[in-house]
């Protein structure tokens, strides 16, 4: 009976903290911005920035010293690819370089004067391409276009040289082993479809860390921590109540944000979204919990409401890189893999990208899912420890007062 009674008191206490925390959140305009405005606006802005997805028709120039029908055909075919667009034919390399320096073009195709002669003589003819490297996407487009165009044109020349062969013989001679390439999960190789899923997860985690940090900073700054424990000594384990109550508040507030960010935004911007939504939601549960406790643990470092910005904003970039979405995790030095492993967003991104973009089931991402539950447990314990520590420190200062009297 006694046990039953203390459970009842415990639940009532958690519920009480939970309700108080709602009030704290909604009375604080700064926190409302973090919890609602930031998750609402950032995904739209990011999606809009990257929405064109691919780079098309990058300007280039041609220096054609051969001036033969074949060299002109080569240039024309280059222009016809979706990747490149010829803006000018230059008389010489100096003129072409000037065009490049003035940012009128990002690539130069150079066709040497003996281009056609060499082919007629049965030698291999080489064309050169000079690509600006400031943006890798431009380079990549040029490279694909150049390879395809020279291979195709070369294939046609081979065909002509065979003269009188059947189409089948020609195919066999030119390409005895054809190949097909399939871009899975992101058929256009779009930048938004690749980057946004990771950014979405990061927005969830970082807005939580920032908001929780700001709340904690406010409590520290105004010496209000004692309100959460004094006069409530009859409660055992009230740190546990405090931590669970607050976490329940944040979790319940983030249900809506999660649905909006992980479900609605990919649908709205037509990103690849082939996973089972139910499974994605169940995956989001440990991710949210781990992020909440991670944020609550980190909040011990926030001594002032606004330091939350200083301490946490720049970590977004680190967390994005360490998650392995750009630079794969296996290729990182081991110590960064370890650091990445203790950040919830690393596993969140891994799981979400695989489920949402690649259509994996929750069983396929069981490693990330388990890691998130482990992190939830670890950060729950650390949260309790830092809260206990803070209360201990606060008690030494000897503040008093009760929560209701606020």
């Amino acid at each position: 009976m006694k046990l039953f009674h203390s459970i009842k008191i415990g639940l009532a206490d958690i519920y009480y903290i939970w309700r108080r925390e709602y009030r704290a959140v909604f009375q604080d305009f700064g926190v409302i911005l973090f919890f609602f405005a930031l998750p609402f606006v950032y995904p739209i802005v990011y999606a809009a920035v990257y929405n064109p997805e691919v780079v098309r028709e990058v300007p280039m120039v041609v220096v054609d010293n051969a001036r033969t029908p074949l060299s002109r055909e080569l240039a024309r075919e280059m222009d016809a690819t979706p990747h490149a667009h010829i803006v000018s034919y230059c008389a010489n390399m100096d003129e072409a370089k000037r065009m490049m320096h003035e940012k009128n073009c990002y690539g130069i195709l150079f066709i040497p004067s003996d281009f056609s002669q060499k082919i007629e003589r049965g030698e291999q003819s080489v064309v050169s391409f000079y690509s600006d490297m400031s943006i890798l996407l431009n380079y990549k487009g040029f490279l694909i276009a150049l390879t395809d165009v020279t291979l195709n044109l070369g294939g046609q020349l081979q065909t002509e040289s065979l003269g009188g062969a059947t189409q089948e013989q020609i195919n066999v001679a030119a390409q005895p082993i054809p190949y097909v390439s399939v871009n899975l999960y992101n058929p256009e190789s779009g930048l938004a479809s690749f980057l946004l899923p990771a950014i979405l997860i990061l927005i969830l985690q970082q807005s939580l860390i920032l908001g929780i940090g700001m709340l904690a900073g406010g409590i520290y700054e105004h010496h209000r921590l004692h309100l959460f424990y004094s006069g409530r000594e009859h409660m055992h384990n009230n740190v546990l109540h405090l931590v669970i109550g607050k976490a329940l508040c944040y979790f319940s507030l983030y249900v809506l944000c999660t649905a909006y960010i992980l479900h609605f935004i990919p649908w709205l911007f037509k990103f690849p979204q082939i996973g089972s939504q139910v499974e994605i939601y169940s995956f989001a549960v440990p991710f949210l919990l781990a992020s909440i406790f991670f944020g609550m643990t980190l909040s011990v470092f926030v001594r002032e409401r606004e330091s939350s910005f200083l301490l946490f904003v720049f970590t977004s970039v680190i967390f994005l890189f360490i998650s392995g979405i750009t630079w794969p995790r296996y290729a990182m030095p081991e110590y960064w893999q370890w650091l990445g492993a203790i950040i919830p967003s690393t596993w969140g991104i891994e799981g979400f990208v695989r489920m949402n973009t690649a259509g994996a089931g929750i069983y396929d991402v069981r490693h990330a899912y388990t890691m998130l539950w482990i992190l939830t447990g670890v950060y729950f314990v650390t949260t309790c420890l830092v809260y206990r520590y803070q209360i201990w420190k606060d008690k030494k200062r000897g503040h008093s007062g009760v929560l209701e009297s606020e």
């Binding site: 082993i177 390439s181 606004e306 720049f314 360490i322």
Partner: protein
């Protein structure tokens, strides 16, 4: 009396006052020195290889012939690829791809060897997981090269058999070859590519946050009037006194970046290093000025920090480091040019990566100088807010 007054007010006194504040709060030390240095070491060590090597892949070999095994071996010999699994079915490979064990796989169909020798064109297919951009594009390149080479090997055999001379084979195989020159970054190193843009971007973010925080804190803690008094009620002296110590620290961090990038790591530096040092100095000063503009328009610590965070973080996307600005929607194109780091980035491309005459970068230097002075007309407005020193939580 007068002598003592001179010591407690004026520009020097404001500088001393600011230096005291900077060392009194760990948050400043963290944001001005520790975080930028950590980011720098983090990025460099993360990508020290330049390109991810040994990307895990699978081979679905349904032929089990000596040709298909040769092919697998050749693929495994590439530096960019690590053949982790040899599988029998597409489904197995797809599952490994979804669970993230591999980033791509290549299928060799049944009857590959028989068809190839009989001239019946067996088809190789390869799949890359384009949810992961960098590994996917590297794999695409490796798979494609291998497939083209496989075709080449067969044609070569046929040609040799028909009596074509070895010296003519390349011309027959590939009449037109292409020679791609990646100007300035021939290794196509992602480390060169990303660090030259992201590190200054991160520095801009930290400068924005710290500048806004240091001005906003005066309002919050109601010390703004005292700050102005120290500066003899001159907003110019007050701002200069506050920002000069920060300029020195941030510029020192910027110099460290420049030294790491072009000195220690020998990243491409085709032009004059002083052009980059000047650009780095202008980046620091123009970003500080940008932050002062933010605080003059919205003199509230929280709103200022929100704006600084927004601008700083979005800069990394809108300044066009990874997705080129000309391909963005028009409003974002316009927005990119009001970011100091965009101009810094374009100067870097001209001066360090391509080493072209300074003349072509002139407007970007001018833009940075304009940013640096653009805050001056707004200072009276900031002064009014400082006198009121109303804190909005």
């Amino acid at each position: 009396m007068t002598e003592q007054k001179e010591n407690t007010t004026g520009l020097w006194a404001s500088i001393v006052r600011e230096m005291r504040q900077l060392v009194s709060r760990p948050a400043y030390v963290l944001c001005m020195v520790v975080a930028p240095l950590f980011c720098c070491l983090f990025m460099f060590s993360l990508m020290h290889e330049g390109l991810p090597h040994k990307i895990p892949v699978a081979i679905v070999d349904q032929d089990h012939s000596s040709s298909s095994q040769d092919f697998t071996q050749q693929l495994g010999a590439l530096e960019s690829v690590d053949v982790r699994y040899k599988l029998n079915s597409f489904t197995e490979a797809r599952e490994l791809m979804q669970s993230g064990d591999i980033f791509g796989f290549l299928m060799i169909p049944e009857g590959f060897e028989a068809k190839a020798t009989a001239g019946r064109q067996p088809e190789i297919s390869f799949y890359t997981n384009n949810a992961y951009y960098i590994p996917a594009s590297l794999l695409y390149k490796s798979f494609k090269t291998m497939s083209v080479l496989a075709s080449g090997a067969v044609v070569r055999q046929v040609l040799l058999a028909t009596g074509v001379e070895e010296s003519q084979i390349m011309a027959k195989l590939q009449p037109i070859a292409s020679d791609m020159h990646a100007l300035g970054n021939p290794w196509i190193s992602y480390s060169v590519y990303l660090n030259n843009s992201f590190l200054p971007g991160l520095l801009q973010l930290m400068i924005l946050l710290v500048t806004v925080f240091s001005i906003g804190s005066e309002i919050k803690h109601a010390t703004a009037r005292e700050w102005l008094r120290t500066a003899d009620d001159s907003i110019i002296v007050a701002i200069t006194g506050k920002l000069v110590p920060q300029t020195i620290i941030f510029f020192a961090v910027g110099l460290f970046y420049v030294a790491m990038l072009y000195g220690y790591l020998h990243f491409p530096m085709q032009g004059n290093i002083w052009h980059m040092i000047a650009a780095m100095f202008l980046l620091v000063v123009s970003t500080q000025s940008f932050a002062v503009i933010i605080m003059s328009i919205a003199p509230s610590l929280r709103i200022g920090l929100s704006a600084a965070g927004l601008v700083g973080v979005l800069s990394l996307s809108i300044a066009g480091f990874s997705f080129p600005v000309p391909a963005m929607y028009l409003p974002f194109q316009a927005m990119s040019y009001v970011l100091p780091v965009r101009h810094y980035f374009l100067i870097y491309v001209d001066q360090a990566l391509n080493g072209i005459p300074l003349y072509y970068s002139r407007w970007h230097y001018v833009a940075l100088i304009l940013f640096a002075v653009a805050s001056t007309p707004l200072l009276p407005r900031l002064k009014k807010a400082l006198m009121r020193q109303i804190y909005v939580p």
